[in-house]
Symmetry: C2
Subunit: 139 residues, 2 copies
DNA sequence: GTTCTTGCAAAATATTTGCAAGACG
DNA sequence: CGTCTTGCAAATATTTTGCAAGAAC
């Protein structure tokens, strides 16, 4: 995703496209796999960790990224490709490799629907499968 | 669960039933909802945090508890009611209330099966639905 | 007596906030 | 100007380890 596309994406979600935010968005866009705050910080050494964090928090509020939890090594973030600004409607399960600690998107399959008991109101869901990825399996 | 039952449970899973471990197991057994390390520590003020942690780690290794992740406030632990000592075969989705931070077991429903691509090997799965629980919904 | 367990302290991680200076509208 | 954004420092929170004393086998 080039700079212009990033700017457009940010604006589309109501986020002012500052220099830092564009860099963070580009870093996310150029990553195949969801990234943790620490991983992003390592890639973007020019921006302070706290601002990467603030950018991610802001993106999350504006439904521009998903926070992916359950990997046992912190929250990971991925760009949200849906253009819905109100909800995260493109959530999908993920796979966490216990050896290399990478998180893979299983985006060929939808998030399973769970029937909730009376009175529970769902806002989001996280599904994380853990195991060994093909790459580590070969070793 | 009384003391004798706890001792039996620990032994059944190959964990030596020390005084501390029995207390931790009892605390878990008497909790309707999965507990975080901090919550357990608060309940069991007599035992040091590090030992509660070590007990939980040991229990996890012996498939006596499940670690539940994805709640955005740390790992929670619940007693495993399966008597399988090799695998966690009674995993189920959970519901995390974003208001009261309680985690509810949705154990009336099985963990959904996800078809993994060639080469991925699953060892466990976590599914967390987030939202508002019936109790907080009423407020 | 050798191994296991415990408590206390503290390291290692991870997340989040305060604040003053600077940028932007 | 007034608000938003940034960098740096540091507070919080959470998880994990080191170690010496004590308990169990």
């Amino acid at each position: 995703m080039d700079e212009a596309a990033c700017v457009a994406l940010l604006e589309e979600h109501g986020v002012r496209p500052t220099a830092n935010r564009i860099v963070v968005a580009k870093a996310l866009a150029s990553s195949i796999q969801p990234q943790s705050l620490a991983e992003l910080e390592r890639k973007i050494s020019t921006i302070d960790k706290s601002n990467v964090f603030r950018a991610l928090t802001l993106f999350k509020e504006h439904h521009l990224v998903h926070a992916i939890e359950g990997s046992s090594d912190g929250t990971k973030y991925e760009l949200c490709y849906s253009h819905n600004h109100e909800h995260d409607d493109d959530q999908h399960p993920h796979f966490y490799c216990e050896e290399c600690h990478e998180t893979y998107c299983l985006d060929y399959t939808d998030m399973p629907e769970i029937q909730l008991p009376e009175g529970f109101k769902m806002t989001s869901a996280n599904m994380m499968i853990k195991g060994i990825c093909p790459h580590c399996n070969k070793k």
